[in-house]
Symmetry: C2
Subunit: 699 residues, 2 copies
């Protein structure tokens, strides 16, 4: 293995990206932050968001400490290194969220200010802040893996034990991600629903009105949910896919490599070491591609914002494909692996395009819902659910095709590489995604600080595109989650087989606990339980939104009643209390679903063995992906159908019907749906980590 | 094997049930059919329902003929007998639907007339008509199987080849069931939604108002959907579970029997022949138990209707358990099998009770939805979806426990016997279920013929209980579908293994096409495709309801505009046109989902081999059961939450919100949800029949 290459792409590229992100942050912060009123509002949002993150991180610190203790106390083998990796993963994930949110809250008000000058300037600020989030995620992810793998001796012939220790990092990233997604998702939608119901409907005041005490909480929610939550989500996908492919490289045998690529057994040693570091290097290539891509994102034409963003993504994808070819040329990796990278990149773009079709404002599905809104909310809801269910079809077929062909080209390692390929441009694709909430907040600040209408118009133009890119980002997150979960699933099986061999081979066990065939009832029972979990999990998080929103509605009503002059605009609302309510209930409500996700695979493993646990993971993977697609797309298309009606027919009966659909879609697309990606990966990585314990127990 | 026992329970019991049903029909028909106006309305409903059935059966005849041709032309081996069994299954299913619907349409008007005398009399008529449906289904099912198995030489040492031919009957029953459920479901909900939207909301006239041209179609729909559709659904479950257990008895090996029950190899021959006929005899016992149970269903107390119905069910369950013990005593079947029967019976009752909790009008979930309706339709919808998703948990755990323990007691044969046990009381449980639409229709006739308010009150009391029993019946249908599908899945695997052995053993095939382990990507790809199908299928059927309803709304509007004096009650509406619209669109819309169900497993099998097909079946089983539970329970609880509000707060804002939830729930619980049970079984039986062809293709 070519060590300089490793340091160049594994260390150099992420450090370069971090510096680039730092420069972007400086350039954002140097911009005009607008009037005093604007800064005041921005400060409120920022302090609310940071307060939430602090509280959340305190709780997570407790969780991390307990989990570290459990890992250390119970895991056989290199428990301490797994624990250390776990903490590194958790801390890096938290750091990425913190950096992203600081930048986003500082960029939003500057986007508003820039929108006073031009659309181009506003796009520049908002997108830069998204890029900071994206680049921070990929830089911390890649650097963390590269450094730990190096420190654990992965380059010095200790690859298999290094990667076994590294798996803990994925667990750390996934745990934080689940809590951040669930907590952030509950916060943002509780505040959103409460602000809408108490403000728009009960008090009859417009959205983002400064008199509404829940408005600040609503804007805080965009940051904690769509910035920090989304960042943590994709950080764990990114880290998970890279770590899984390194692990699968070390789990590959010379026979498999011979069958796949005609490699002879003598050359396999070098090949394996190269296969193991290839994903890390590929991530480095992707980081460079993403940075280059950001330079192509600029426009001053409202109608071209979306194509400017997509241009950045396409340029980065092209560079990744070229760069990957260069890597393959420089290493002993077979060209078939390049095919897997390509499959991942193409599948990601295809899912994004399909999502754009199913949720896009000018596309037939949204028009169908507009049509069905004429006969009221019931037909609007039925149509939206119908579109959501129907929209699972093509993306699932794309995922299936990616699995089939990448497996043909590179076995399970190939599937893992496809996942890394899909996520390699995350630096920019997350940037495209995270720019949305910044634009959204910028609009909120414009409204609250009573800027000129054209300012709001410009931020709205940015925000509208943000809806589509957010839906695309979700499709992308789901697609990569499916591939990553599959790669982690293969890692789980490799680890289970290893543990079984150590304890005397399959003869020492009840076959019903090990046999992974569909004929084994334990597998089917596991599949039923696993398949059910996304339903239960979605129900829990949706109900949590309902409960939290109700609590906040009570508070808003109380303030409207008890603060004299509030509705007349003569007094300030107490927005801090609303933020505190959202924070408290989001933290409280994230605990139970989080514990369910961590404990279900362990319990099932102890009760039904490796076979039951494998069934659980497979069942959860299938229904999780389907439910996530359904909820994300239904939520997206309801939102855009409402926007489409608003263009011509605001305030009509069908508009009211569409608002109801949009409200139903809120927890779908921003709380329950996106949490499912993480649920399936978290359960899989928990299974990977705990399977040696389960095997010992089964004996 | 004791042949007299076979003839007694396999021939005698169903013939006795048929006679009993005939006596019930006579006694119903002898009752007072009410005033001329009532009879006029009843005749309209009846002729509409029968016209639909005729049209549907004409189309199905074409389908059956084509399918028979395909089976005959392509299947290797005893293709002709499979084809004959297929036709017998299809014809018996159609006959059961026809008898049930004739009786129901004749009983409804007599229930209205009886309600003028007393509640007890009305209950008597309505329940008798339900019992006719239930007993016809079990009689035709059991007799059909017993006769064919006898004719094919199953009692004379040709068991394995007899059952191979008999599998076609299950395919026939499932095909008809899918079309009947989907067609009937679309008809009933399109008419229901159209009648509500055009009548209650647009024209401001009450439900079941005779001025509304869609009212008759709505009442026809109750019959074609909830009577004929439900009957065909459970006929195929019933037949499928019995045939699968006979097949699995013949697929069992002496080694398995030895491991399970300590039977020595010499005694296995007799045991196997007894195991094979045991399910048929058990069905006969269940038929007798159901007849006895019907005698205990009577009451004159409004508050005790539900407990009277449940009493009948419990008595029948007790008799089945006793009778099964007697059978075991008389045969060489081990007592462990009795345990499987018990598990099935208990699991069925448990799922019914859980459904009652999650959908019941006075239970916490319904109250939660009522509470959430205060803040409008959006929170009502979110809460209903939340309840539906949450409600999947316990039933799935019950199903898992039933699978786990029945497998422990009797391997896959045990799982199949649990399904037969669960369905053994179908004669009465379907009666309890099918009584609901009769009571519903009776209320409609009372309204349209302007009977005294107390008549409607009495039919309403019967109808309200019908909602809960319908939800319980659906839970039951889903639970038995899960077990039956699993048994058919095991049959599929046995058939696949047989075909592989005939063609030279596993060595002759690509392992990726045969290996059923979760590690095989073909299995996972199949699972993704299979898991997706229930989503696509639900979307298709929900959209079909929307399209058909819209077409009928246009027609109702046209009539209100063009028929002078209609709204003033001075002219008759043209209800026949509405029935014709519903019929035409239901028939048209059932074709595509039906073809999808038949073709998806065959195509997947040809593309991805036995492994991909097995994955597809497993994936569809898991998401199909979950989606069916979710949709049935969400639909049921929305309906009852609306009813709960109506008790105290009719016409309020929260009532309006609850009506919207109820309308969303309509296609959930009566079209898409119930079709999913059949979808998973139909796909499995298609796989069973076509797997020899697929194995040949793979070679």
């Amino acid at each position: 293995m070519n060590n300089p290459l490793y340091f160049l792409f594994g260390f150099g590229a992420p450090i370069g990206a971090a510096i680039f992100a730092f420069v972007l942050v400086r350039s954002i912060n140097r911009r005009d932050a607008g009037t005093e009123r604007m800064q005041q509002i921005a400060a409120l949002i920022r302090s609310g968001a940071m307060a939430f993150l602090r509280t959340e991180y305190q709780w997570l610190a407790v969780f991390v400490a307990i989990m570290f203790g459990i890992l250390w106390a119970f895991l056989p083998g290199n428990a301490l290194l797994v624990g250390v990796s776990f903490i590194v993963g958790a801390v890096l994930s938290a750091t990425a969220g913190w950096v992203g949110m600081r930048t986003a809250t500082s960029a939003a008000v500057r986007t508003t200010a820039a929108a006073q000058t031009s659309l181009a300037a506003a796009l520049q600020v908002a997108f830069s802040s998204g890029a900071v989030m994206g680049l921070t995620v990929v830089a911390l992810g890649t650097l963390g893996i590269a450094v730990l793998y190096f420190l654990y001796g992965g380059l010095d012939g200790n690859g298999p034990s290094a990667i076994a220790s590294l798996l803990g990092m994925s667990l750390g990233a996934s745990s934080i991600a689940l809590f951040a997604r669930v907590g952030g998702g509950i916060f943002t939608k509780a505040a959103d629903v409460a602000a809408d119901l108490s403000g728009k409907i009960e008090a009859g005041i417009p959205e983002d009105d400064p008199r509404n005490p829940a408005t600040i909480a609503d804007n805080v929610g965009d940051n904690v949910g769509d910035v920090a939550g989304m960042g943590a989500d994709l950080f764990e996908s990114y880290v998970g896919s890279i770590i899984a492919s390194v692990a699968l490289a070390w789990a590959m045998t010379a026979v498999t490599a011979g069958d796949l690529w005609g490699v002879d057994a003598g050359a396999f040693g070098t090949l394996q070491a190269d296969l193991a570091v290839f994903p890390v290097l590929l991530a480095g290539v992707g980081i460079i591609a993403s940075m280059l891509g950001t330079f192509t994102v600029r426009t001053d034409d409202e109608s071209k914002v979306q194509s400017a963003l997509l241009r950045g993504l396409f340029v980065a994808s092209g560079i990744v494909l070229l760069g990957a070819a260069g890597l393959i040329q420089a290493m002993s990796v077979p060209w078939a692996v390049w095919g897997c990278v390509g499959l991942g990149v193409v599948a990601g773009v295809a899912i994004g395009k399909l999502t754009e079709y199913f949720t896009g404002k000018d596309k037939p599905p949204a028009r169908h819902i507009v049509e069905q809104s004429k006969t009221g909310p019931a037909t609007n809801i039925i149509a939206g659910l119908g579109v959501g269910m129907m929209s699972t079809g093509y993306p699932v077929l794309v995922i299936c095709a990616a699995i089939f062909f990448s497996y043909e080209l590179g076995n399970v390692y190939g599937v893992a590489i496809a996942a890394v390929g899909m996520l390699s441009t995350l630096g920019i694709s997350l940037g495209v995604d995270a720019y949305g909430p910044v634009a959204d907040n910028a609009g909120g600040i414009a409204e609250m600080s009573k800027r000129e209408p054209f300012v709001r118009q410009r931020t709205d133009a940015l925000d509208a595109v943000g809806n589509t890119t957010a839906a695309m980002g979700k499709g992308f997150a789901i697609g990569s989650a499916a591939l990553t979960a599959l790669a982690l699933f293969a890692t789980f099986q490799a680890k289970a087989a290893e543990a079984v061999t150590e304890l005397g081979g399959v003869e020492a066990f009840d076959p019903r606990h090990l046999n992974l065939e569909l004929t084994n009832p334990n597998v089917l029972i596991g599949m039923f339980i696993g398949g059910m979990l996304p339903f239960i999990f979605s129900a829990m998080t949706m109900n949590a939104v309902g409960r939290s929103a109700n609590e906040m509605i009570e508070e808003v009503r109380r303030q409207f009643k008890n603060i004299p002059g509030l509705l007349e605009g003569k007094a300030e609302p107490d927005s801090a209390t609303c933020v505190a309510i959202s924070t408290r209930s989001a933290i409280k409500e994230m605990i139970l679903p989080g514990l369910l996700a961590v404990s279900a695979p362990v319990l099932t493993g102890f009760l039904l063995g490796v076979s039951g646990l494998a069934g659980l993971l497979a069942g959860a993977l299938v229904t999780g992906v389907l439910m996530a697609l359904m909820m994300a797309n239904a939520g997206g298309v309801w939102d855009n159908a409402k926007k489409l009606i608003e263009e011509t027919d605001k305030g009509s009966e069908r508009h009211k019907a569409a608002i109801i659909g949009d409200t139903v879609g809120d927890p779908f697309k921003d709380t329950s749906g996106p949490s499912l990606n993480i649920l399936i990966k978290l359960m899989t990585i928990v299974a990977v980590i705990f399977v040696p314990l389960i095997v010992v127990w089964m004996q």
